[in-house]
């Protein structure tokens, strides 16, 4: 399609190009194919829209690619949707003015996709149309006359298969050429009377504001009744605008141009005219394969069974396939810690590296296999088209909570880990629904709670009763869901009050997932997790380490540790001496932590945690496990004079907890106390990584703070009620 440029221009100014398209058109695949691994991700100020910039070079030309969120139309209804319009019009201050826009459309769904393209063509920007998934279209018997389409639309059209990287070179060429040319005149599909009204409105606004807004915004002001453009300008101009608008709309209706239906009718008529003679269908036969799958997948009987089976498969895989990888991370962590311990003398530096840095970073990395695995499944489900059906199948149930089916998969993922769950909420385009889903996602019992549950359950139910253990575990998992229901209900009726969002969405055709695409998404999300969450959890771990380390005279402890190490280095160490030394080491470590800032804080908060049935040790365990809940296991180990190296399976910790007593000789870990600790950890937000991801996804510090506060309050109240009621029951038994 491209016009050959005989000599590439020598001027190599950077071009700024935006990428826009409907959902399910392969837009992110195209972005990744063009910009590869070099994307920079951030947020636009004040909104939750992800700002994604990438770069690529074509010959000497370097290009900045700005990814805009997938959308069916450019009629902004929310501040989030306004961002795309502002970027396209060069009104977004943190994004450079655009030289061109690339609109990607699904070749097998041309007519509806041309709706957005028609709006893009009103912006007056040089435009390239990417006709993606031409293979899918061909398989469905759709053939498109590309040169003719290009001629009809007045823009270069590039036929592509982005997942196979077919057509990339042509696209780059077309982008460069079109950016250096003048934009084709804007497409005007509405009746002339409409444009006259829009111009009159522009003049009126110019009188008020000193300048007229760009033509596209004038049109949106008239077209989108109560839309975001109207909100923005009402604030700027004042209430007189409302009467101007309603009068203009009334005049238009009288002239036969009824809003809002006039625009869709005109645009679809335009699209149909463009496609007449350009698009031909040879048969409709192959298209029904998707329909047949759909009838089974959404069948009254099979649908839920298939759905449950898919979800179960994901969870079993996440737990079983990730387990060996997690062991691998853990042994790697131990090896590094062992190496550092071996090469450094006992002292603050070694402790900082081993107990602070390595333990902290390892604590994050240990979840990477699960997160990557979950993203793998989410990416496959999204790519093959089942994700939309999962939302379809679950929608009715989720509407009872005031949410939609789109919230289901993010919440389900949160049972493995809230981090991918929160990130997966990006598929929910309604901001209110997305926020509520993000805020309740951390209530789902994630895998990091499992070590806490298993340790405490083993305390009061012997391993010989696995069914009883399983039931308590199930109760803990259910607790999060049961609490999330009223929380979602309240949030939807207070903060995020509003009309339920429509469930008007495309159910894309089924297709085989693209390997490259899936792999890239897993890599991308995993990287985001490690870099962003990892840095903060790292810092917090070091802080908690410092609070547990200082102040205190460690000379004795170090002497004991040095002796143990030299004994262990001997060919035939005395077992008795070793045991004696390690007991000394544990005692010293225990008393040191009691003297530390953390220990003092523990004593200071004992009155607060006593109503929960906890002693100061559990209190500081909870405090120290702020970066990650499972830290409580290691912290309890340290405090109960065992040294830091324990896990939930270690019988000695279990024994130590069973034997732990109050000063008056009563046991600390009674059934109500164990339950109270479990309920606390089921409901609390002790996970710095999740809070960081919430900050990133909501683009505000308020929401992570809110999540932390509400969950901590819930956890405290829940633990309090559990202990008090439990004690009453035990007493009366």
């Amino acid at each position: 399609m491209s016009l050959a440029t005989p000599t590439p221009p020598i001027a190599t100014e950077r071009l700024n190009v935006a990428l826009i398209g409907n959902p399910n058109t392969g837009k992110s695949t195209l972005f990744n194919a063009l910009a590869g691994m070099q994307a920079r991700v951030g947020n636009y100020p004040g909104v939750t829209v992800e700002k994604k910039l990438g770069h690529f070079r074509h010959g000497k030309q370097s290009v900045t690619l700005i990814d805009l969120p997938g959308t069916y139309s450019l009629s902004p209804r929310t501040p989030d949707e306004m961002v795309s319009v502002d970027v396209l019009l060069g009104r977004q201050s943190d994004v450079p003015r655009l030289d061109a826009v690339v609109c990607i459309i699904d070749a097998s769904n041309l007519e509806r996709n041309l709706y957005l393209f028609g709006q893009v063509r009103e912006l007056g920007l040089p435009t390239v149309l990417v006709l993606n998934m031409t293979d899918v279209a061909a398989a469905r018997g759709v053939s498109i006359d590309v040169p003719k389409l290009s001629e009809r639309l007045g823009v270069p059209v590039v036929a592509m298969q982005a997942h196979r990287r077919k057509g990339l070179a042509e696209l780059k060429e077309a982008i460069r050429d079109v950016a250096k040319s003048k934009a084709a005149p804007a497409v005007r599909v509405l009746p002339e009377v409409f444009y006259l009204e829009a111009d009159a409105l522009g003049k009126w606004l110019a009188g008020r504001l000193g300048e007229s807004p760009p033509p596209y915004l004038r049109e949106r002001l008239l077209l989108d009744v109560g839309g975001q453009t109207e909100q923005v300008f009402l604030k700027k101009v004042g209430p007189e605008l409302a009467s101007q608008l309603s009068e203009a709309r009334r005049r238009l209706a009288e002239a036969g141009c009824r809003l809002p239906s006039a625009e869709p009718i005109a645009r679809y008529r335009w699209a149909k005219e463009r496609l007449d003679g350009v698009l031909t269908r040879s048969s409709t036969e192959s298209a029904t394969a998707s329909d047949r799958i759909d009838r089974i997948v959404t069948n009254r009987a099979f649908g839920p069974v298939i759905f449950a089976a898919v979800m179960a498969l994901i969870f079993i895989s996440v737990y079983s396939l990730a387990a060996p990888l997690m062991d691998f991370v853990e042994s790697g962590q131990e090896a590094v810690a062992g190496f550092v311990s071996g090469s450094l003398q006992p002292g603050p530096l070694r402790s900082l590296l081993v107990d602070g840095v390595i333990a902290g970073v390892g604590g994050v990395l240990i979840f990477l296999p699960q997160i990557a695995m979950l993203f793998l499944f989410i990416a496959i489900l999204e790519d093959c088209g089942y994700m939309a059906r999962a939302a379809f199948v679950m929608d009715k149930l989720m509407t009872r909570l005031g949410l939609s089916g789109k919230s289901f998969v993010p919440l389900m993922s949160s049972f493995a880990c809230a981090i991918p769950g929160v990130m997966a909420t990006r598929v929910i385009e309604n901001t209110r629904d997305r926020m509520v889903t993000i805020l309740i996602a951390p209530l789902m019992s994630c895998s990091a709670r499992l070590p806490v549950y298993t340790l405490l359950i083993a305390l009061f139910i012997p391993a010989s009763q696995p069914v009883k253990q399983g039931l308590v575990l199930f109760a803990m998992y259910s607790l999060g869901v049961l609490v999330a229901i009223p929380i979602a209900w309240i949030l939807k009726r207070t903060w995020f009050k509003g009309e339920p969002p429509p469930f008007v969405m495309e159910l894309p055709g089924y297709k085989i997932p693209g390997l490259r695409n899936v792999a890239f998404r897993v890599y991308d999300r995993s990287k985001a997790f490690v870099t962003r969450a990892g840095t903060l959890i790292f810092a917090t771990s070091v802080l908690v380490w410092a609070a547990g380390y200082f102040p205190g005279d460690r000379a004795k402890l170090h002497a004991v540790e040095a002796e143990i190490e030299s004994l262990e280095g001997q060919a035939n160490p005395s077992k008795e001496r070793l045991e004696e030394l390690s007991e000394q080491q544990n005692l010293l470590a225990g008393s040191l932590i009691e003297q530390s800032f953390l220990g003092r804080a523990g004593h200071a908060i004992e009155p607060v945690v006593k109503p929960l049935g906890w002693d100061w040790r559990i209190g500081i365990g909870a405090l120290a496990s702020f970066p990650a809940r499972e830290v409580i296991v290691a912290t309890l180990g340290t405090i109960y004079s065992l040294g830091g190296d324990v896990n939930e399976e270690s019988d000695t910790l279990k024994d130590a907890l069973r034997d732990a007593r109050w000063p008056d000789g009563r046991r600390i870990y009674t059934v109500p106390v164990a339950l109270s600790v479990m309920v606390f950890f089921a409901l609390c937000a002790q996970c710095a990584a999740t809070l960081m991801v919430i900050r990133r996804e909501t683009n505000s510090w308020f929401w992570p703070a809110f999540t932390f506060t509400y969950m901590t309050v819930l956890a405290y109240v829940g633990a309090f009620a559990t202990y008090q009621i439990g004690t009453l029951i035990v007493r009366n038994m």
């Binding site: 069916y72 097998s108 509806r112 809002p260 869709p264 298209a287 839920p304 379809f392 009715k396």
Partner: protein, 89 residues
């Protein structure tokens, strides 16, 4: 009462007369291509009876019953076909 999309039986095709309302939901329904004169086929519903799946303009769309209720149909006799059919004109 005018017929709406919820009144179709599975596999039935009908022609859209209009979409009622002028709010964001009506606009979204229109933007997705459910405009006057367009043919729609009802394909089936989710296991719990809602939402519903339709075929329009050569693609599949889901609408909740409450949303489908807004799409009025013409009174002309509709053709009933087995399975799915896609209309291109």
């Amino acid at each position: 009462m005018a017929r709406t999309l919820t009144g179709l039986s599975r596999g039935e095709t009908a022609t859209i007369a209009s979409v009622s309302g002028d709010d964001a939901i009506a606009l979204r329904i229109l933007e997705m291509g459910l405009t006057d004169g367009e043919e729609v086929t009802f394909l089936g519903s989710a296991p719990l009876g809602d939402p519903l799946e339709f075929s329009v303009r050569g693609y599949r769309i889901s609408l909740r019953a409450a949303e489908a209720e807004r799409v009025r149909l013409t009174t002309e006799e509709v053709r009933s076909e087995n399975g799915s059919s896609e209309k291109w004109e």
